[in-house]
């Protein structure tokens, strides 16, 4: 018998963890929605961002809340480099070639990470004093509340960027119809560079943020990629608000679901939802042609 107090705490925990799922998926969703590129290295880029946060915290004590700015900047640069040097040559040659390139990149990042960083799990911490937070009958982890707030703020900022800036408008136009956007004078090559840079920067920021909550190894990329896929399918490819809602739904479903069927089935719940949405509403809850709302 699940008590109301326990259900309430699990619901809140699900929302908090769902926010982190959403921010982990956001970059994947944008790149997929705007460029039609499935970034199989997204989870590994997130892992790199996590290590930026972890190493910076270990070396200087700087909180990953600030470390995420450095991680985002580094990964933005990496994304620009990646687009200009590798993806630009294959991005218009169908889905397969970019996937192969990015799969290879994922393996390189994983192996390189193992050589440079070792395989022991590492984690940062919030770096600011705090204690648990009582909410009615529930007790919530202070770092989880902080990371949730930052995650949602980051997602809203990306939404506002796409909605209210000229570059955001150009990105959305490119996502809707690349040829028409070019006819309208938009430099779609530049938009692709910005988009991949933004997507990888978001992966880096998400990684640094998540390093506060979870331990990372160089192997962590795949599990974050799978979770991000589930969120993207649930919310709809390219939809920023859909990604947030998808993340929250996934987090709540998992946390409340395991109360009833057991913690050994957490991933079963995630991927059952993933398959169900694919069957019933393949475009996701907020599915659109992409480019954000």
């Amino acid at each position: 018998m699940v008590s109301p107090e326990l259900a309430f705490e699990s619901l809140l925990n699900g929302l908090l963890i769902g926010g982190t799922y959403a921010v982990a998926a956001l970059g994947l969703s944008l790149v997929f929605g705007i460029m039609d590129v499935v970034n199989l290295a997204h989870g590994h880029m997130l892992m790199v961002g996590a290590y930026v946060g972890i190493l910076l915290f270990a070396a200087t004590g700087i909180t990953p809340l600030l470390g995420m700015l450095l991680a985002a900047a580094l990964l933005f640069g990496f994304g620009v480099f990646l687009q200009r040097v590798l993806l630009e040559r294959v991005v218009d040659k169908g889905m397969e070639q970019p996937i192969i390139v990015l799969f290879g990149l994922a393996l390189v990042l994983e192996s390189g990470g193992r050589i440079v960083l070792g395989s022991e799990p590492q984690r940062a911490s919030l770096g600011i004093p705090g204690s648990s937070i009582p909410v009615g009958p529930a007790v919530l982890s202070f770092p989880r509340v902080v990371t949730f707030v930052v995650s949602v703020a980051l997602i809203v900022a990306v939404w506002a960027f796409l909605k209210y800036t000229t570059t955001g408008l150009a990105i959305r136009a490119t996502a809707q119809n690349t040829d028409a956007a070019q006819y309208m004078g938009i430099d779609t090559g530049r938009i692709y560079i910005i988009t991949l840079g933004l997507g990888t920067a978001l992966a880096g920021a998400a990684g640094a943020l998540l390093s506060i909550l979870f331990p990372f190894t160089p192997y962590a990329g795949w599990s974050y990629l799978l979770k991000a896929f589930a969120v993207v399918v649930l919310g709809g490819v390219g939809s920023v608000i859909g990604t947030l809602v998808g993340g929250l739904l996934l987090g709540v479903s998992e946390n409340v679901g395991v109360l009833f069927i057991g913690g050994g089935y957490r991933d079963l719940i995630s991927f059952s939802i993933f398959l169900l949405v694919l069957l019933v509403r393949p475009q996701g809850l907020f599915g659109s042609s992409g480019g954000g709302e």
Binding site: L6, I17, R114, R123, V139, F142, V258, G263, G264, R266
Partner: protein, 381 residues
């Protein structure tokens, strides 16, 4: 090259998890094996060659590596954890080579696989459960906890150990108020923590991998959940527990087979050999996996000595018939390779001031302590 062609008198093959989930135990384990090799050479006056491969904490790598080395080996020593040791035993059984392993608490393979060559020189799940009951009984009756929660990893040993705890402690009158399964490698334990707090779990028991156990404690602290006693078998065994958690890892109990504070049966010799070989700061203790490895070497030395040769059948016969005096206790083997029931008392240690003190059974060593119970709440530390 066969063992007959080896320049050493005795050749032993083993794998060590230098990477992966159990890598935090690798250095300690290897130290125990290296000290053990010196012990055998001194005891038997024979040269020993130890062949070591990195198994990456992966059962398939254990099997692959041991198969490569089996042709040269007179004996095989186990890796770390029931999962990896079970994998190694399959090579020993197929090749007909005596296999001695510590860090191997799972009973089911011995019961189910009709082992002929595999010997577990280590307390089993039933011993760990009995030891947990003994530990709880050191608490005065009026202060003793009643509510037990079990966090069960979804593995064969996780299920077996949880069954043993549930049966032994349930029969002793404790209430098993929570038994919840989780997946190895999980990053989020918030629901189990909420469930445990909601069920008023006073004694928290689990057998996590070191990375999972460290994550659990971090999230338990963040959520401000304070059970009165926590026993994390395996996770809290290695020094990395303290390196990763610092004082957050204080007071957690473990059941690693050997704990500083045990006496007799070569413990003093092992300490002296360790200090000579590796040095040790004044307040520092030898780590637990060193004792497990050394104990395997003691069994090997006594078996070969009794057999009078390294012939596999002779050594097998000695393993089956002799009683072994080792740093973890005095024991013989049952027919299927289990330590004879009731002969080994699985010692429990507790992290106190950065070291692992024996808290059960009681010994008169300086490295033994009374159990610190109840654990202070996070806010009071």
């Amino acid at each position: 090259m066969s063992s007959d062609e080896s320049s050493a008198d005795i050749t032993i093959a083993t794998t060590i998890p230098q990477e992966g989930a159990f890598s935090s135990m690798a250095e300690e384990m290897e130290q125990g094996y290296d000290l053990g090799v010196a012990h055998i050479e001194e005891t038997l006056d024979q040269e020993v060659e130890l062949l070591v491969e990195n198994d990456e904490s992966d059962p398939s790598v254990v099997i692959e590596s041991l198969r490569k080395m089996a042709g040269d080996a007179d004996m095989i020593w186990g890796s770390f954890s029931s999962e990896l040791v079970t994998a190694g035993s399959s090579v020993a059984e197929s090749e007909g080579i005596p296999f001695v392993a510590a860090y191997f608490a799972q009973e089911a393979p011995h019961r189910n696989e009709d082992y002929e060559w595999t010997y577990a020189a280590f307390p089993k799940s039933r011993d760990v459960a009995r030891s947990t009951q003994g530990l709880l009984e050191t608490i005065p009756e009026g202060e003793r906890p009643t509510n037990v929660g079990i966090w069960e990893p979804n593995s064969d040993w996780g299920e077996e150990q949880s069954d043993s705890w549930e049966e032994t402690l349930g029969d002793a009158g404790y209430d098993i108020v929570l038994r919840e399964q989780y997946e190895y490698g999980s990053s989020d334990f918030s629901t189990m923590i909420s469930q445990s707090a909601n069920q008023n779990v006073e004694v928290l028991l689990s057998v996590p991998t070191p990375p999972d156990g460290i994550t659990m404690i971090e999230q338990i602290e963040e959520r401000d959940f304070s059970p009165d006693l926590t026993k994390f078998v395996r996770a809290a065994d290695p020094q990395d527990w303290w390196n990763a958690l610092g004082e957050s890892g204080e007071y957690v109990c473990m059941c690693p087979g050997w704990v500083p504070g045990m006496t007799g049966n070569g413990n003093e010799e092992m300490w002296n050999a360790y200090v000579d070989e590796y040095g040790l700061e004044d307040d520092a203790f030898i780590r637990t996996a060193v004792g497990g490895g050394y104990n395997v070497a003691q069994v090997t030395a006594q078996a070969i000595d009794a057999a009078g040769s390294t012939d596999p059948s002779d050594v097998q016969g000695a393993l089956q018939s002799e009683t072994f005096e080792t740093v973890i206790g005095s024991f013989s083997f049952e027919e299927n390779g289990l330590p004879t029931e009731g002969e080994l008392t699985a010692p429990t240690g507790q992290w106190l001031d950065g070291n692992q003190y024996t808290v059960y059974p009681e010994t008169d060593d300086d490295r033994a302590s009374d159990l610190q119970y109840p654990i202070p709440a996070w806010s009071e530390r």
